[in-house]
Each structure stands twice: as structure tokens, then as C-alpha cells.
């Protein structure tokens, strides 16, 4: 039988590795890179340690150790609050804010990632204990890690909608994208710049679920934020004309997007929109209900 110390250290290592693995992929959403990195890695390590000691504690009949897990859950909810608060503060300084729905989603992900750490180390330790083999334990830890990552990967816009280039034009002072009236632009100078530097796209929902999801204002704000970050934005604080706009065609639920970008490249706009995550809080599934299904015919 292996020593508890070695089992636990392998468990902690695997759990921390899981947190590191998930830190690597979220660069784009990350507000404060080097400092945040250390913070989350440390919290991840603590989470891993809690997961790792749970099994040995139970074997030693220290059943009260389980209460520590409850404490951990409490702590990680605190992580969510911390992330939410800090991103919300930063959001006030953005030219195009993320919006509260997007922030809530990011904060939730940060909390969940700590549970990935716990589960990975718990699984690793359990396997090592049952098989008595460190290597099998590490392998199972890796499998758990990849499976949880896969499970946590949400949908992207490209999974629920087809993104196409769209045409913009002015009728008098009203800006249209295809057949959707977007906004009344008063200044002639602004109209010229929009026509010259603006790019527009259209999102066609793939089904009724997608149509309901895309109508969510939080998701639309997330789209506006992401394209402004990725394509650059030709806007100053005092030029509201050039804010990216995401509007809905009330006839058929299609969404149109227009932005005045630093890089007016339509291919990039489509790529940026397609990679916007579908926010958990925006997801709607009317087709799962009886009424929704009948109404969709």
C-alpha cells in the first residue's frame, strides 16, 4: 500500500494541473493576466488539496473531514463574487461594455473551474487507492480533466446561427442593414464615415430555440463587446454614433450587427461573431415545451 503522502501529493498535483489547463484557454476573457494567474492557480491548488485529502480522511474514519468540502464550496462561491465584482468595475471603463449577463457567465465559469480541480484530484486519489498504481491514477486524472473540459465547453454562435455579410444603406437619416432599420443618425459627417468604414453582418437562427436565445439582450451586448475587442473600434467616448449595434428583425428573429471598425474586414467580423460564446443565462429552449413545439409549425 502506498503512503498517503505520495497519494495526496499526486492528487494535489493533478488538481492544480487541471486548473492550469483551464487557465490557459481563457486568455481572452481574462481581465488581469499575471496577477489573476497567480490568484487562481493558488486557489486551484487549495481546491486540489481539499479533493485529495477527502478519500484518505474517509478511510481513516475521519468522517467530519467531509465538512471541509462544504467549506470549500463556500470559498469558491466567494471566487465567483470576486470575479464578478472586479469585472464589473473594469466594465465601467470599457468603450463597449460586456454587460451584466456576460459578466455573470464569466464569473460562473471561474467558480466551476475550481470544482474541476476538486473532482480531478478526488478522482486521481480514488483510482490510486483502488488500484495501488500511481500511473493509472495520473492517467485517470487526465481523463477526468479532459472530460470535464469537454463538458464545460459551451456552444458558440456558429452552432446556433448562420452568419452572413449584410448590406447597409441610409434612407434619409435612418441607417438600415438589409431590411432592418437600425438607428437615426443625424450628423452627415457620421453617415459618411459609417458608409465608408462600417461593416455589417446578419445572424440567421438555425431553429426556434436559437431564435429565442438570440433575442436576449445580454447575448447581443456580448456580441457587440467581442467584436469591438477583436476588430478594434473607431469610436471615442463622446462619439455614440460609432457604437456597434446589434438589432433584431422583429419579423423573423434574425439579428443584424453593424460596427465601425478599425479593421473593416467582413471576414474577420464574421469569424469574431461566430466565436462569441452562447451565454448560459441567454439560452432558451421553447422547442422542449409542448406549446413551443406546436407553435413552431
Amino acid at each position: 500500500m502506498l503512503q498517503y503522502t505520495s497519494i495526496i501529493s499526486v492528487g494535489i498535483f493533478m488538481g492544480t494541473l487541471a486548473r492550469l489547463y483551464l487557465l490557459r484557454v481563457d486568455y481572452r476573457q481574462y481581465p488581469s493576466y499575471p496577477q489573476g494567474y497567480i490568484t487562481h492557480l493558488t486557489i486551484g491548488m487549495v481546491a486540489a488539496a481539499l479533493g485529495a485529502v477527502a478519500i484518505p480522511a474517509l478511510i481513516e474514519k475521519e468522517y467530519t473531514a467531509v465538512t471541509f468540502l462544504a467549506l470549500a464550496v463556500q470559498q469558491f462561491r466567494e471566487v465567483r463574487n470576486m470575479e464578478r465584482e472586479s469585472i464589473r468595475r473594469i466594465d465601467e471603463t470599457e468603450l463597449v461594455p460586456r454587460g451584466s449577463a456576460y459578466i455573470e457567465d464569466i464569473a460562473k465559469v471561474f467558480e466551476a473551474r475550481n470544482y474541476v480541480s476538486i473532482l480531478t484530484s478526488l478522482g486521481t486519489v480514488l483510482t490510486i487507492y483502488l488500484t495501488g498504481n500511481l500511473l493509472i491514477g495520473i492517467a485517470s486524472g487526465l481523463i477526468i480533466m479532459f472530460m470535464l473540459k469537454k463538458f464545460m465547453d459551451g456552444q458558440l454562435i456558429k452552432d446556433i446561427a448562420i452568419v452572413k455579410p449584410a448590406k447597409m444603406w441610409f434612407k434619409g437619416s435612418i441607417l438600415y442593414v438589409d431590411e432592418v432599420a437600425i438607428i437615426n443618425v443625424g450628423l452627415k459627417e457620421a453617415r459618411e464615415i459609417i458608409l465608408k468604414k462600417g461593416i455589417a453582418a446578419k445572424l440567421i437562427p438555425k431553429d426556434d430555440n436559437a431564435r429565442a436565445t438570440l433575442s436576449n439582450l445580454g447575448l447581443r451586448q456580448a456580441i457587440a463587446h467581442n467584436i469591438s475587442i477583436q476588430l478594434g473600434i473607431r469610436k471615442e467616448e463622446d462619439m455614440p454614433e460609432f457604437t456597434p449595434l446589434v438589432k433584431r428583425n422583429e419579423e423573423n428573429g434574425e439579428i443584424v450587427v453593424i460596427t465601425v471598425a478599425m479593421e473593416p474586414d467582413i471576414e474577420c467580423l464574421i469569424a469574431a461573431i461566430e466565436r462569441v460564446p452562447v451565454l448560459e443565462s441567454a439560452k432558451r429552449k421553447p422547442l422542449e415545451s409542448k406549446a413551443g413545439k406546436i407553435a413552431s409549425d
Partner: protein
């Protein structure tokens, strides 16, 4: 500084003198101009200063609204 909430309200109007009759001025600051160019310029200045957006009512009246 406490922000006064004027979101989605008309905060100023810029009107061509010939179209004076199209507005019946209530509490909104209104600027009258002689020419189209002057109207554009004043509207642009006010928009930058107030961070509001200029909308054209297409009857000689520009309104500035903060969104």
C-alpha cells in the same frame, strides 16, 4: 459628482430658423441656426460635449439624446 440621469431624453435641440414653428419650446435648450452648415456644426459640438447622439427628425430639427 452625482450623475443626473437624462438617459433617453431629449437634452437639446438644434433648429433651422425657417423651421422655428416645428418646435414649441418647453424645457429643452433649443439652438436656432441660420444655415444648414451651422446646424451641423452646433449639433456636432453639442453631441461631443454632452456625449449624446444627434438624431435628425427630417423637418429641420436635430435632437440630441443620450442613450
Amino acid at each position: 459628482m452625482g450623475d443626473v440621469n437624462l438617459l433617453n431624453e431629449i437634452i437639446a435641440m438644434v433648429v433651422l430658423k425657417n423651421f422655428k414653428d416645428n418646435v414649441n419650446n418647453g424645457s429643452v435648450p433649443t439652438f436656432y441656426t441660420d444655415t444648414e452648415e451651422e446646424r451641423e456644426k452646433i449639433a456636432m459640438y453639442l453631441s461631443r460635449i454632452t456625449k449624446g447622439m444627434v438624431h435628425d427628425l427630417e423637418n429641420g430639427v436635430y435632437i440630441i439624446v443620450k442613450h
